[in-house]
């Protein structure tokens, strides 16, 4: 209503200034003279300090724009307000800007900085709206800015901003098509996006910018299919249309075998019958032949590509959409792609749309008309739905008639004809004419009813309405041409009509009939010509031409009676005003009247004129329209509209289906499965496509991961505290599940572990020493220890140190040998394992050439206070430095990053090495081990295109140039997880392939140990009470009794160090989170009966909660 007032005000305001009321035509010159005055007060209002005045002014201006008036001279005054705080003013300014920026480019530039600032806003909606407006301003100068903004927004963490980026792509493209290549890159990136929000928009951008780059779709095909049902309606339409084209290039025609069968089967009889459907089926037949060719050559049964099936299956539910455009899109997809037997499902949905608005009906009927020619059987059960009501608009009636005609066959023709009879009585004459045409077509198509129809039409000849009669004549003429000899009485009857009928087309038709079959009506024909000769000068041109024709034909057959008449007619025609008629008369005279000069042609005059003419084919105007993609504008207009993408023909042989394979990291898959069970409600419920098979399976789970990550990012984007913690705790529970998974894995690893160890040369030696040191008191948690498995070996760091130093030296030497002179033939497999270990060592060294320097520093930082009191002479720094900590990588839990199969021979595992990451102490070190089990070497292993949640950072490992076949190499990278368990997603690239992988840290890996005294611990704990303290009771698992076991398990679950404690009933651990350095304190108090109490103090409540769960888990086992 306020807008209302604004509108009125505007009027009122203008009259105040004494201005004439505005006409509706903006083009009236008045604007120029009087506008300035009015706009002055608007300018004043815009310049005022009050938001309400500004708002008022903007409302008036927008109202002007809405009415199509020119408000461009206000540009300078308006653009100043682009940074206005009031949201509504701002929005209205945006409206104005988008409308006029193109005309006032220089001034528009003033606003750009505001949007650039907006692009950096922490609020995703502001970022999105800034991008939206920025990209809508059609000013060429800012193209680079737009490009930059789009690129940035495409990797925004908010899917909504990414969606906006997708929308901006076509805008920029239309502004500057030279940006195409850059834009395609962005599109490619966004196509890989896994959120439903983005999918529709990016496919739209794809369609607008680079529809020819079908290769970009391969990798995303399954994902798009699976996401489809959750995409918003408009996006669905665009995606389905695109996928239709895609499928046409990638899959085989599902109907090729079927048509082969039909060829030999029942269809034969059809062709035998006198030309019934020949014409309509003709194309079908051609198609069949075309399709037949490859199938004959191959003699291979057609098997539908599972991806083809996936598309059909996933689109089918959308037939139930409330959106007519979606239903139509699915219908056309089925029509163009589905096996014949399955196309039927769309009929019901299309018939349903007929209940919708008349415009929808109109479009749907057009498409049904085309479909019903090819697939008549599909709509036959719904015949009655196409019955016409007197209240239908004429264009709908005509289309329904078209469909009814197409559906007519021997069995239903009587019903249809009866229906047609009622239509003929309609008041709508255009419709009646169309009905008569339709009857004619039924008669040509179905031999059995030809006579009935003809009789019916003849009866119509006595109709009072001339239009009806005329239309009947035209149709009868066409029908008679089929069997003229049997119907001379009808011709006679029609001859009589020439007296009454005035419609030129009808008269012409009658004259043509009489001329053509003058032998059947020898008596009447000359008489008709006589009458016509009389009225010749008053006839329409089309009739005159037929009179000349008639005269010529009669002259040739019955020259005795008609010679003079013909001469007379030709003479009249000779002086006709119309040159066509004059020409025709001259031509015919030369041809039929023998003179001395007349050439050889006149001998053949009779043959020329009285040749047997083929009967006309009454065919549907919708025939062959299906070469346009159905549902498209081009199809509707039956002409190619700008930007129309041709629907490609089926390929002769299917292209390689493996291009659509997508790698899914094994463990992500598992965890997402778990989550699915957990979060049924949260999930987008529509796409729970369970129980799929084959490649679908993997794609399916990919979509799950997608939606999960989506919900995650959304919530973090919303920024509300409570929500966030909610979510976190939720993901904590997920974590549990995952943990379990991991446990199982670990168990497996544990079982396997001894094998590699015994393989190693020093293993036996080591083992011995380990046993020796078994009972020594445990030192402040060295990284290695906490990372160890459950062997319950406590190693003295000294011995370990020595060993490892030896080891490393030794191995380094070996390594050097290996690297310097690589043996061309691979040593036996047993050696491989060892080498794997060696490699890892060396590579770490390679990676960090000066470990001692860089690693000491961070350690000292957090050791400072506690070192003195608690280290008990243990040189921790050395310990950390010693490569041993890394060596037993088997002791750390390893996770799979890339499976050997999906990685095409390249398998990648990772573990959290629990080393401080030297280049950046706020990062978690992740050790990645590549094994190349393929036959050829892998090159240029590197990371690309990291997709990180906001705040997260990643330090990539240096590119591995080559990894020969059979070799293994380890590298370390750092990831700053921002103290969250959000996964880091990135692409692992080889010289040939890219794999999407992700690393998700268990909460225990997000911290590093620190050393504290008992007192310090108690003090800190005292400060982290209340909300920051989480206490849980637990009954210890059977194997978990005793202090030692507890310590072992806790340090395995989390990267913490032990804090000394007076009581042997209590174990304490301390650490701090890697990113923010928040303290994490854990204490486990055990009781005699196996019960225990776990307390976690941490100011990051989410971390605390998750950690408690993890610890409980590990203790109960």
């Amino acid at each position: 209503m306020s807008a209302n007032s604004a509108f009125n005000e505007e009027k009122g305001g203008s009259s105040n200034v004494g201005e004439p009321e505005y006409g509706h035509d903006p083009a009236s010159g008045g604007i120029f003279s009087s506008d300035y005055k009015r706009h002055d007060d608007l300018k004043e209002m815009l310049d005022s300090n009050k938001d309400s005045l500004k708002l008022e002014a903007m409302k008036r201006i927008v109202a002007m724009i809405a009415r199509g008036k020119n408000a461009s001279d206000l540009f300078p005054a308006v653009v100043k307000n682009v940074a206005c705080k009031n949201i509504e003013v701002k929005k209205l300014v945006y409206v104005y800007l988008v409308r006029y920026a193109e005309e006032q480019q220089d001034l528009a530039l003033l606003s750009i900085s505001t949007f650039q600032r907006g692009l950096k806003d922490p609020n995703q909606l502001i970022r999105a709206s800034a991008l939206r407006v920025l990209s809508s301003i059609r000013v060429t100068i800012i193209v680079p800015i737009m490009m930059l903004a789009i690129k940035e927004a495409a990797s925004d963490m908010s899917p909504y901003v990414r969606k906006t980026a997708a929308h901006a792509i076509p805008k920029l493209y239309s502004l500057d098509p030279d940006q195409k290549d850059c834009l395609i890159e962005v599109i490619e990136k966004l196509l890989a996006d896994k959120t439903t929000l983005v999918a529709g928009s990016v496919v739209m951008a794809f369609e607008e910018v680079c529809p020819e780059r079908i290769d970009l779709i391969h990798k995303n095909y399954r994902k798009l299919c699976n996401l489809l049902i959750d995409v918003e309606e408009w996006g669905q339409v665009v995606i389905i249309n695109m996928l239709t084209r895609y499928a046409r290039t990638q899959f085989l025609n599902p109907n090729m075998n079927e048509s082969l069968l039909e060829e030999g089967g029942g269809e034969k009889a059809f062709y035998g019958s006198d030309g019934d459907d020949d014409e309509e089926e003709d194309k079908d037949e051609k198609d069949k032949k075309k399709a037949e060719a490859p199938s004959v050559v191959k003699r291979k049964p057609y098997v539908m590509d599972p991806d083809h099936r996936l598309l059909l299956r996933n689109t089918k539910p959308l037939l139930q959409s409330r959106n007519a455009a979606v239903v139509m899109a699915v219908a056309q997809l089925y029509f163009h792609l589905a096996p014949k037997a399955e196309v039927g499902v769309i009929a019901k949905a299309l018939v349903r749309l007929m209940r919708s608005h008349s415009e929808v009906q109109y479009v749907v009927l057009q498409n049904v008309a085309t479909m019903s020619i090819k697939r008549r059987g599909m709509f036959e059960p719904y015949l009655k739905s196409f019955y016409i009501r007197s209240t239908d608009p004429t264009q709908i009636k005509v289309l329904k008639l078209e469909v009814l005609t197409n559906l007519a066959n021997e069995t239903n023709i009587s019903t249809i004809l009866r229906e047609f009879q009622t239509y003929i009585k309609s008041m709508d004459k255009d419709f009646v004419a169309a009905t008569i045409q339709a009857i004619g077509r039924c008669a040509t198509n179905i031999g059995e009813v030809r006579d009935t129809c003809l009789n019916g039409l003849v009866q119509l000849l006595s109709n009072r309405d001339e239009l009806v009669v005329a239309e009947s004549v035209v149709v009868i003429k066409k029908l008679l041409q089929m069997q003229p000899e049997q119907h001379s009485d009808i011709i006679k009857h029609m001859a009589k009509l020439t007296d009454n009928i005035q419609v030129p087309m009808a008269r012409a038709s009658i004259l043509w009939l009489i001329g053509e079959y003058c032998e059947h009506v020898p008596k009447i024909a000359p008489d008709v010509l006589r009458k016509m000769a009389k009225t010749f000068t008053n006839e329409e041109d089309i009739v005159k031409l037929q009179i000349i024709n008639l005269a010529a034909k009669l002259y040739l057959t019955n020259s005795k009676q008609t010679k003079l008449l013909t001469q007379y007619v030709l003479n009249l025609a000779k002086y006709d005003q119309n040159y066509d008629i004059r020409d025709r008369a001259r031509f015919i005279r030369q041809l039929i009247v023998p003179t001395d000069k007349s050439g050889a042609l006149s001998k053949y005059a009779k043959k020329l004129f009285l040749a047997l003419k083929p009967a006309p084919v009454l065919e549907s105007p919708f025939k062959d329209r299906d070469h346009f993609q159905l549902g498209s504008l081009s199809h509707l207009l039956n002409a190619k509209a700008g930007g129309y993408q041709e629907l490609p023909d089926w390929p002769e042989a299917a292209p390689d289906p493996s291009v659509r394979n997508v790698e899914v990291p094994e463990w992500t898959k598992c965890s997402s499965r778990e989550k699915r069970k957990e979060k049924k409600v949260e999930k987008p419920f529509y796409s729970d496509s369970e129980g799929e098979s084959g490649p679908t399976e993997s794609a399916d789970s990919a979509s799950d991961t997608a939606s999960d990550s989506e919900s995650g990012s959304e919530e973090s984007g919303s920024g509300s505290e409570s929500e966030e913690s909610d979510q976190q705790s939720e993901s904590g529970s997920e974590e549990d599940e995952e943990e379990e998974e991991r446990k199982k894995k670990k168990e497996k690893i544990k079982a396997k572990k001894p094998v590699p160890e015994s393989d190693s040369e020093q293993s036996s030696e080591e083992e011995g020493k380990k046993t020796e040191s078994k009972n020594k008191p445990r030192r402040g948690g060295s990284d290695t220890e906490s990372g160890e498995d459950k062997d319950s070996e406590t190693e003295s760091s000294e011995s370990e140190e020595e060993e490892s130093e030896e080891e490393s030296e030794e191995e380094t030497k070996k390594k050097k040998k290996a690297t310097v002179s690589k043996p061309p033939s691979k040593p036996p497999k047993i050696d491989n394992k060892k080498e794997k270990k060696e490699m890892s060592l060396l590579d770490l060294d390679d990676f960090d050439p000066a470990p001692s320097l860089s690693q000491v520093t961070p350690l000292n930082n957090f050791l400072s206070s506690s070192l003195v009191t608690d280290l008990e002479g243990l040189s921790l720094t050395d310990n950390v430095l010693s490569p041993t900590t890394i060596t037993p990588s088997g002791n750390l839990k390893t996770y799979e990053l890339l499976h050997r199969i999906t990685g095409e021979g390249l398998s990648v595992e990772y573990c959290f090495s629990r080393q401080p990451f030297s280049p950046d102490p706020h990062m978690v070190a992740v050790q990645i081990q590549f094994t190349n089990s393929a036959a050829s070497e892998a090159k240029n292993l590197h990371i690309e295109d990291a997709k990180l949640q906001s705040g997260m950072r990643m330090k990539e490992f240096p590119e591995i140039e080559t990894l020969p076949a059979g070799e293994t190499v380890s590298v370390v990278m750092g990831i700053d997880f921002c103290d969250s368990t959000q996964a880091a997603n990135f692409q692992l690239c080889t010289h040939t392939r890219k794999f999407f992988v992700s690393i998700q840290p268990p909460v225990g890996e997000l911290m590093m140990p620190i050393f504290m005294t008992e007192n310090e611990f108690k003090k800190e704990q005292g400060q982290l009470m209340g909300m920051n303290e989480i206490t849980e009771k637990v009954t210890l698992g059977e194997k978990c009794h005793g202090e030692h076991a507890v310590i072992q398990r806790v340090t395995t679950a989390a990267n913490l160090s032990r804090v000394p404690c007076g009581s042997d009933k209590e174990c304490r651990f301390a650490g701090k989170t890697v990113t923010s350095g928040s303290l994490v304190l854990v204490s486990v108090v055990t009781k005699d009966n196996g019960a225990a109490q776990v307390t976690v103090n941490c100011e990051k409540m989410v971390i605390g909660t998750m950690l408690v769960k993890d610890i409980l888990q590990t203790l109960t086992q």
Partner: protein, 498 residues
């Protein structure tokens, strides 16, 4: 126009500069100062795009035609789906225009207006019109034309469906969709359109999302707004847009939690002159009005879901659940919405609730005729038939009618030749009858065709197909909502041929 056109004196002797001179001018920039528009010959101008866009200025200068001789890559690619929208009232005036990209001149509507002139009825205007440079796709709704301008290939249904959404949105916001209402709320309509389309591609079309961004007007708020100058634009973020359930806004709160469902069935039928059913089917729709706090998860089940042959759902309905269990499981949008539409299995014979005895005769001598109509209840399952309305489209030659109705009243519109007989409730004891004489145009021949009757009716508390809602369960929230189901049967396209 802010810049003066350079004028050329036609009488002055003028030498066309040679190539060298032109080149000189080109490189030095001397000799000709750049202006947006030059008159190069009397009444012949060369101008740039800026000039070409300034239509009023052109009119002032007397320019009648523009030839585009521009060459270049930009501006030629059109990538938007819907370029512009015009709202046209019944008399052919454009009262609102919105462009999502560069402005398309109003004159493009002339093609449409031409087609509108030609058509006898507004419904007969073709929805898609092709013009030399654009395609016009229009819908006719609530006596208004929504006309969109398209430049490139786009599924026509896509545009049509969108235009209907626009109309529905206006209806939803302002209670009705009419010229006055739109004109009164022009700014808000404009803002809505801005949000609904981005670069011609639908952005937010869910009413719940839009209402969060732009609040619908209420009397109280409009008073407050005018006093304080505060706005209708929501400052809150439309969370719905970002969630996986975009149709529901977050933080919904009601003191009375209610959920009402109306099962509305329409009978579409064609009866021939003997009263036999040529065609009959039942189309149903479940309209919901859900005012529940929080995030309720509802399950609606039917006693006899097998009756339903073909269904279409609001996007909130979980399709898989329906496929496997035949129950409607959904998180509802807030407020009014259409939950599902359905079609009843064609094998079930449709009960036709009324019958019509009719006779219409025109005297052979012309100039007169008789009409006799009786309507009676047939298969009504014991319910009363209400709101019976009979519409007869008379032949064009019927001038006037003189009839006598035993119940209700009738009107005859001479312009449209429509006879409307409003009967009201059907009383089985005393059947309503309408009889009397028709007078025809003198001299006109006896009409050949017979008119057809359209019948409107309503039966409360009955779903003619026999469909029954079994139960409604709510999960996800603690409170007990008030639930209600209402059945109603109506005549859809119910036609009797005479």
């Amino acid at each position: 126009m802010s810049h003066e056109a350079v004028r050329v004196d036609p009488d002055m002797e003028y030498l066309t500069p040679g190539v060298v001179d032109l080149e000189q001018m080109f490189w030095t920039g001397l000799g000709a100062t750049y202006t947006h528009c030059n008159q190069v010959w009397p009444n012949l101008y060369i101008g740039d795009k800026k000039t070409a866009l300034e239509k009023p200025g052109l009119v002032e200068m007397g320019v009648t035609h523009i030839i585009n001789a521009a060459e270049g890559t930009w501006n030629n690619v059109s990538t938007e789906m819907i370029h512009s929208l015009f709202l046209v009232n019944p008399s052919g005036d454009i009262f609102l225009e919105k462009h999502w990209k560069s402005v398309v001149s109003r004159s493009v509507c002339d093609y449409f207006l031409e087609a509108r002139e030609k058509a006898l009825d507004p419904e007969d205007v073709p929805p898609v019109i092709s013009t030399p440079h654009h395609y016009l796709i229009s819908i006719y709704r609530d006596k208004l034309f929504f006309l969109s301008v398209i430049q490139t290939e786009v599924p026509p249904l896509f545009v049509i469906e969108f235009l209907h959404r626009v109309a529905e949105m206006i209806q939803d916001y302002f209670g009705e969709c009419s010229e006055t209402v739109i004109k009164d709320n022009v700014v808000m309509v404009y803002e809505l359109l801005e949000e609904m389309l981005d670069n011609g591609f639908p952005l937010a079309t869910e009413s719940n999302v839009l209402k969060e961004m732009i609040r619908p007007p209420t009397i109280l708020r409009s008073v407050v707004n005018t006093l304080t100058g505060s706005s209708n634009v929501g400052d809150k973020l439309p969370t719905g847009q970002l969630s996986t359930i975009p149709w529901r806004r977050a933080g919904v709160k009601y003191t009375n939690n209610e959920a009402y469902f109306d099962v509305v069935e329409e009978i579409d039928a064609i009866l021939d002159r003997t009263g036999t059913t040529v065609f009959a089917e039942i189309q149903g729709v479940v309209e919901a009005c859900v005012k529940l706090s929080g995030m309720p998860d509802l399950t609606l089940s039917f006693m006899n879901p097998r009756l339903l042959d073909d269904v279409s759902f609001h996007p909130c309905v979980r399709y898989k659940r329906w496929e496997s269990e035949r129950v409607l499981s959904f998180i509802p949008p807030d407020g009014n919405f259409t939950l599902m539409t359905y079609h009843v299995n064609a094998q079930n014979l449709v009960a036709i609730p009324v019958y019509v005895k009719h006779s219409i005769n025109f005297f052979e001598s012309g100039s007169g005729g008789r009409l006799d109509l009786t309507v009676g209840p047939k298969q009504t399952m014991g319910k009363t038939v209400e709101g019976v309305l009979v519409t007869v489209h008379m032949p064009k030659t019927v001038l006037s009618v003189s009839l006598n109705a035993t119940q209700g009243s009738y009107t005859y519109d001479n312009a449209t030749k429509v006879l409307v007989w409003d009967i009201g409730k059907l009383n089985p004891q005393k059947l309503p009858n309408l009889r009397g004489s028709l007078s025809l145009q003198t001299g006109a021949p006896k009409p050949e065709e017979n008119p057809s009757l359209n019948i409107d009716l309503k039966i409360q508390q009955l779903a003619i197909s026999g469909l029954k809602v079994n139960r409604l369960d709510m999960f996800g929230e603690k409170y007990k909502p008030f639930k209600g189901v209402k059945y109603i049967t109506k005549a859809g396209k119910f036609q009797v041929r005479m």
